[in-house]
């Protein structure tokens, strides 16, 4: 009887614990989602409602006027295309370079490994503003200022250290025994990489692609300074033009354009989501 009471009380405690945990998770999720929800809500409100000073989550009257305004502005569409181009190319190049480098750094222990990893961490210390002028001068001598390629090059260099650091951590997690087993079965190094390691690294590659794309997609300062021609402008730079002096802004179009700006990241995450499924390694090595 006492045992059943004890079990019942434990089960109750577990339920309460679960409830509290889910409550906390839900609160945290709402905290994270609220700015996005508010932005979407604002983008569908009439200008009068935005300025009414009465906060409401659901617009009194739904309007698409701000989206219409945004899509009528040719430059914004152009800037979306530019940002997509820069983001995709950056993500591809970053992963192409970082993946083999991460594998080499984590699998082949040489004297330079520590130096390389130390340098990767050190490179993260410098703020963009500090390197902007020398970077600009170098790019200008290469005739790469005011080009999307120059911007891609900067993003690639900027993103590689973090992606490399992240990927080599993932590679380290893959048991070496898997490679050894494949080698015993007669697989070449290339086969081991592409048939054994790569599938296991898909979540990491997904994360790397997402990181590289989003950091390029959202980046403002390099794009502002390096690109001068209006036709080359990227989305974050265009969005900044919806704000004016002394805290003024065109809030409706800004919310609509900002929502549009988040869509590619959401879509990319949705596509790559399945790659993030964990547990691929569970049971891969016995014992």
């Amino acid at each position: 009887m006492q045992i059943s009471k004890l079990l019942a009380s434990r089960s109750l405690k577990r339920r309460i614990g679960n409830l509290l945990m889910h409550g906390l998770i839900l609160t945290f999720l709402l905290y994270l989602l609220f700015p996005l929800i508010w932005m979407i809500s604002t983008s569908f409100k009439t200008t009068a409602e935005i300025y009414s000073g009465i906060p409401s989550l659901i617009p009194k009257v739904f309007t698409g006027e701000h989206y219409l305004t945004v899509f009528q502005e040719e430059r914004l569409l152009k800037s979306i295309a530019n940002s997509l181009y820069v983001g995709i190319i950056t993500a591809i190049i970053v992963v192409m370079i970082s993946l083999p480098a991460a594998y080499a750094l984590s699998r082949y222990k040489t004297a330079v490994n520590k130096v390389v990893m130390g340098w990767i961490l050190t490179s993260q210390i410098f703020p963009a503003i500090l390197i902007m002028i020398p970077l600009f001068l170098v790019l200008r001598s290469l005739h790469l200022t005011d080009t999307l390629s120059g911007l891609v090059l900067v993003y690639v260099v900027w993103d590689i250290p973090f992606v490399l650091w992240m990927l080599q951590g993932y590679v380290k997690e893959i048991p070496i025994e898997l490679e050894e087993a494949a080698a015993i079965d007669g697989a070449s190094q290339t086969q081991i990489i592409y048939k054994i390691i790569m599938p296991l690294l898909l979540p990491a590659i997904g994360a790397a692609v997402l990181f590289a794309f989003i950091s390029a997609w959202n980046e403002f300062f390099f794009a502002l300074v390096l690109l001068k021609s209006p036709d080359l402008s990227t989305l974050p730079v265009e969005l900044a033009r919806y704000t004016g002096i002394e805290g003024q802004s065109r809030t409706g179009p800004l919310a609509a354009a900002s929502f549009i700006a988040t869509i590619p990241s959401i879509v990319l995450f949705a596509i790559l989501r399945k790659w993030f499924s964990s547990g691929a390694l569970q049971g891969a090595v016995k014992g």
């Binding site: 935005i50 001068l137 005739h143 790469l144 592409y194 900044a240 704000t243 002394e246």
Partner: protein
């Protein structure tokens, strides 16, 4: 050797992938460089004009004027670059340092002082036509002219501080609004604010404030308003050295605001952490009967966003000792590194002709710097407050901080944070005054050591 070959054979997959990556990147960049080199050769060299107009209407006017120029001057085209107020400083600083700077750029007089002191700007004085020189008000020229006579930018719009008021609420409370001929004093404002502060729904909480003011970055407005009290925060001694003092006139101004905020409780405390623009929704919602110390541009926000039937108007500046106020102008400048200063200046004169200045002022809802534009009937409409705003031009005055090296740093690093602390009631007025004086003079001393002189 055999070891190397076997190593290469073992890692051939890696090596091929790596070489492929390098090849792709090299071809990509080389292709881009070739295109650039080619385009550099065929570049006919349009002048690059960085505009900070951002409102739809203002952007359209700038575009139209630039197109008109391009049609009239096929031999010297102008490329319009749309800048952004939020990041223009970084953009220009890197541009000056690297030499890749637009030929003409839009900014404001308080900031171009620092650019001028660093030798970045061309002297435009020799290129200014007599017509333009005579038509732009002296007070506006004073904001951009060095004691040597060198002109660092052409002022075309001036910021003028106004008071917006809700006509219906004022009428309902039986308050008689001031006119240009019969302006209010600060005491009049206090009396009216008391009448207009109400708990409309009887729940014990005030829901209609007599006044509101965006105080987040209050230094600018306090500087400009202090002139009406006979103050200025900055004082020159007999040797010509500048000193910051928060003396009786400055304290009187700040004390008036503090009285409404903390004693009378007729000014909404929500303004302490907000900018002027952020006060507009509350004004349109009827939460504030008057918005004090806001830029004349705010009228545009009201016109565009007010619900139908919302009645509003603009008050003339409050009278302290005088109604004078400091001025900050928006300017067009040319970098010293520009190789085509004369033609760039020709474009500026075209852009800022009397007609175009009127159009620019009307689209940006700001005070034009030209006398002829101030008199233009398009800027005299009563319903949108233009009549009061244009009359403000007579009260514009040049503060002693104009041309002061380090003024921008002083404002952002000393004055704004201390005023913020004061209005949040974390320090007293005397403490604020003491800290402003001690911290300011150390910041300004650094600039004096550098020997920078306007």
């Amino acid at each position: 050797m055999q070891r190397l070959i076997s190593w290469i054979l073992y890692y051939k997959g890696f090596i091929i992938a790596g070489l492929l990556a390098v090849l792709i990147i090299s071809v990509y960049i080389a292709g881009e460089m070739a295109i650039r080199l080619e385009s550099d050769e065929i570049q006919t060299g349009p002048l690059r004009f960085l505009s900070l107009a951002w409102q739809e209407e203002a952007v359209a006017v700038v575009q139209e004027i630039t197109q008109d120029w391009n049609q009239a001057h096929p031999e010297q085209q102008v490329e319009l670059i749309q800048g952004t107020w939020n990041a223009v400083h970084d953009y220009l600083i890197t541009g000056f340092e690297t030499g890749d700077i637009p030929d003409i750029f839009h900014y404001e007089s308080a900031v171009i002082v620092d650019f001028a002191l660093r030798g970045y700007l061309a002297d435009l004085a020799p290129y200014i036509s007599d017509e333009m020189r005579d038509d732009i008000l002296d007070v506006n020229w004073a904001s951009v002219t060095r004691p040597t006579g060198a002109v660092m930018g052409i002022p075309f719009l001036a910021e003028s501080s106004i008071i917006l008021y809700n006509l219906d609420l004022i009428n309902e409370a039986g308050v008689i609004a001031p006119t240009n001929e019969d302006p209010w004093t600060w005491d009049d404002l206090h009396i009216a604010a008391k009448k207009l502060t109400k708990d409309r729904d009887g729940d014990g909480v005030i829901d209609q404030w007599g006044t509101a003011m965006g105080l987040r970055n209050s230094a600018n407005i306090l500087m400009n308003q202090s002139i009406a009290f006979g103050g200025s925060f900055f004082y020159y001694d007999e040797q010509g050295d500048i000193e910051v003092r928060v003396s009786k006139p400055e304290k009187e101004l700040i004390g008036n605001l503090a009285r409404m905020l903390f004693v009378d409780k007729t000014m909404s405390p929500s303004g302490v952490g907000k900018s002027g623009a952020e006060m507009i929704p509350g004004f349109l919602a009827g939460n504030y009967a008057m918005v004090v110390g806001i830029g004349s541009w705010a009228r545009q926000q009201v016109v565009e966003n007010a619900a139908e039937g919302f009645n509003w108007a603009v008050m003339p500046p409050l009278k302290a000792v005088t109604q004078n106020m400091g001025v900050n102008t928006q300017t067009l400048s040319i970098p010293r590194s520009c190789k085509r200063t004369a033609i760039a200046m020709e474009f500026i004169q075209f852009l800022l002709s009397s007609e175009n200045t009127t159009r620019l002022a009307a689209s940006d809802w700001m005070l034009p710097t030209r006398q002829s534009s101030l008199e233009d009937p398009r800027l005299q409409a009563d319903s949108t407050g233009w009549k009061v705003v244009t009359a403000n031009a007579q009260f514009l005055s040049t503060g002693p901080w104009v041309g002061l090296p380090g003024y921008i740093e002083w404002k952002s690093r000393v004055a704004n944070p201390i005023f913020q602390e004061f209005f949040s009631q974390r320090i007293s007025l005397d403490e604020a005054a003491e800290r402003i004086e001690s911290e300011s003079n150390s910041v300004l001393a650094r600039y004096q050591v550098r020997g920078l002189k306007w």
